[in-house]
């Protein structure tokens, strides 16, 4: 069931400006949906209608199955995480108090809040010494980490993010993007993320929604949008001026196969399943993993241990190809950075078939 559902949502302002024009969209649970488009396309307006900071003029929005007009706006907002570009940490409260703000307005006890604060800190990779510090003592990146932590405090299923990394420098932005991805995978939250940075959207989003002048032009995975654009603007926006440029923006996670022949050591039944799957994929090896999913060994069916090139889920496609060339391998393994969990495999043959489809679509034989 879609966690958030937009049905013909429209927002008209006094001067007859249609900030959002008949948008319909379903956001599935666990998705990372990026709303992207040029300035003024209505992406932020659409976002703010979810937590009723802006009220739609017409159309319906459903959150968790209930129409938002039936929700008490205060309860709705406490139920949804919200991160903004200006960060907006409360300067007069400590990091701890900032993070647990929503809990304190909901009346939770001090002990609960304390406990939650520590949890949240580790989630955003900050150590306990930060608890008693004040926002003014933190760097921009640290502040937005607190901002994200703050949004997670009430354990919401949905998190709204409005260009949260827009005010940060490039390096910090990339760091936080990586962390956000990690968190998304860890916590399985549904995230609606507004950005104007296409690269960011491609990197983070499981799906992208391209908007222009209030209308939702197309919603789809990065490769869907890239290889099967439904609107000339989408093509243009994704930069078909240089197809290759856009191709470079794709990441390993976009191109990888996820249903892998995995097996834990000593698991005879699992091994049989794995061999079957391997054959399906046209491979002759299986992946040995531990109980956490961490990759231990790539084992050829004849028992030999194979060497393999490694990339991360957010590695750009360009880099993936380079690794393939360097290792003279038609496949690379995608591991999660830090804990080495096996996420998928990028197989060159599947990439080729994608490309072939695209070229056919473009009338190139």
């Amino acid at each position: 069931m879609a966690l958030v559902s937009f049905q013909e949502v429209t927002k008209v302002y006094q001067d007859d400006i249609r900030a959002v024009d008949g948008v319909s969209l379903e956001v599935e649970e666990g998705e990372f949906l990026c709303l992207i488009g040029p300035s003024g396309c209505g992406k932020t307006t659409l976002l703010k209608m979810v937590n009723r900071l802006i009220e739609p003029t017409s159309g319906k929005i459903f959150v968790e199955g209930r129409e938002i007009r039936e929700w008490d706006p205060i309860r709705l907002r406490r139920h949804i995480g919200y991160v903004i570009q200006q960060i907006g940490l409360f300067p007069h409260l400590t990091v701890e108090e900032n993070m647990t703000y929503v809990l304190s307005i909901m009346g939770r006890t001090l002990a609960e809040r304390r406990r939650k604060a520590r949890e949240l800190l580790t989630m955003v990779s900050l150590d306990a010494s930060y608890l008693s510090r004040f926002p003014r003592e933190l760097s921009g990146g640290e502040r937005q980490r607190v901002g994200v932590a703050r949004a997670l405090a009430s354990d919401p299923r949905i998190i709204l993010m409005d260009e949260p990394f827009g005010a940060l420098d490039q390096i910090t932005r990339e760091q936080l993007q990586g962390e956000l991805l990690r968190l998304h995978r860890l916590l399985r939250k549904t995230i609606i993320f507004v950005t104007h940075d296409l690269q960011e959207a491609m990197k983070l989003g499981t799906r992208l929604g391209i908007m222009r002048r209030g209308r939702m032009l197309q919603v789809g995975t990065p490769s869907e949008l890239l290889f099967a654009p439904q609107d000339p603007f989408v093509e243009e926006f994704l930069g078909s001026g240089s197809f290759l440029q856009t191709l470079r923006m794709l990441t390993a996670q976009e191109m990888m196969v996820q249903e892998l022949p995995r097996v834990s050591s000593g698991d005879a039944d699992g091994y049989r399943e794995a061999r079957k799957r391997s054959a399906e994929l046209g491979w002759d090896f299986v992946f040995l993993v531990d109980e956490n999913g961490k990759l231990l060994e790539v084992k050829h069916l004849n028992g030999e241990s194979l060497n393999y090139p490694v990339v991360t889920p957010t590695t750009s496609f360009e880099e993936v190809l380079r690794r393939m060339f360097l290792a003279s391998s038609s496949w690379v393994v995608v591991l999660e950075p830090g804990n080495g969990v096996l996420r998928g495999v990028v197989d060159f043959r599947f990439v080729c078939s994608h490309l072939r489809q695209y070229c056919l679509g473009k009338g190139v034989s």
Binding site: N51, L53, P73, I74, R75, L76, R77, R78, H79, Y82, I84, Q85, Q86, I87, G88, L89, F90, P91, H92, Y101, V102, I105, M106, F134, G147, R150, A151, L160
Partner: protein, 214 residues
């Protein structure tokens, strides 16, 4: 030098009158300030919520502020008679603007990102005000309060003119009996009271600001 010595001697001699006037003055100023605070701060908050009223309210209190204090006292007499009532009323009207304006500006100037974050997280309007806006506007509000207190202590000298007592008694009495030492004695006490009140509020301000870590 000898003059100052005479002033101090005088204060000692007439200590009954001096003490009575001093306590009256403190009382009048304190009550007036409390009234101003109790009405002024909520009023300032109110017009941040009802912005269309803001310019009107600020304009009215601004005009009242420009009326010379003495005239204000004069106006009050036909309406409220003499003594404490018209005095407090005139002081109240006079001191309203600085506090209302400072409260209003303090709240308006809170970082809009902070306000949006607080709203977006599900704060009620009251929580937004109480937990975010007021603490952050506190420096302005306290500054406004300090202005009002010092001003009220000074203007309260006129209270004596309409029979409410206070240190103005010493000053007026000194004038009517050509007793310069008395005038100086009264003025010194008013000034001293002002300085003391300002210092006290300064300490309070520092404490408060430390608590909210600005």
């Amino acid at each position: 030098m000898a003059f100052l010595a005479r002033v101090f001697l005088l204060l000692l001699e007439r200590r009954e009158l001096v003490l009575t006037s001093l306590f009256q003055h403190i009382y009048i100023s304190a009550v007036a300030c409390v009234l101003i605070g109790v009405v002024g701060i909520p009023l300032g908050v109110l017009i941040t919520r009802f912005r269309s009223w803001a310019s009107g309210v600020l304009a009215v209190t601004g005009v009242l502020y420009t009326i010379p204090a003495l005239a204000l006292f004069g106006f009050m007499i036909p309406l409220l008679g003499i003594g404490l009532k018209p005095t407090l009323f005139a002081l109240f009207i006079y001191g309203l603007l600085p506090l209302v304006r400072n409260t209003y500006v303090g709240i308006i100037n809170v970082d809009p990102g902070v306000v949006e974050a607080a709203r977006g997280m599900g704060s009620t309007e009251w929580q937004l005000l109480y937990r975010v806006q007021l603490p952050l506007a506190l420096p302005y509000i306290v500054a406004g309060l300090r202005t009002v207190v010092v001003m009220t202590i000074s203007v309260s000298t006129i209270a004596a003119f309409i029979g409410a007592g206070g240190l103005g008694v010493l000053i007026f009495r000194g004038i009517t009996s050509y007793y310069t030492e008395l005038i100086v004695a009264g003025s010194m006490l008013v000034a001293g009271l002002s300085v003391a009140a300002d210092m006290l509020l300064g300490v309070l301000e520092k404490r408060l600001l430390r608590r909210i870590q600005m």
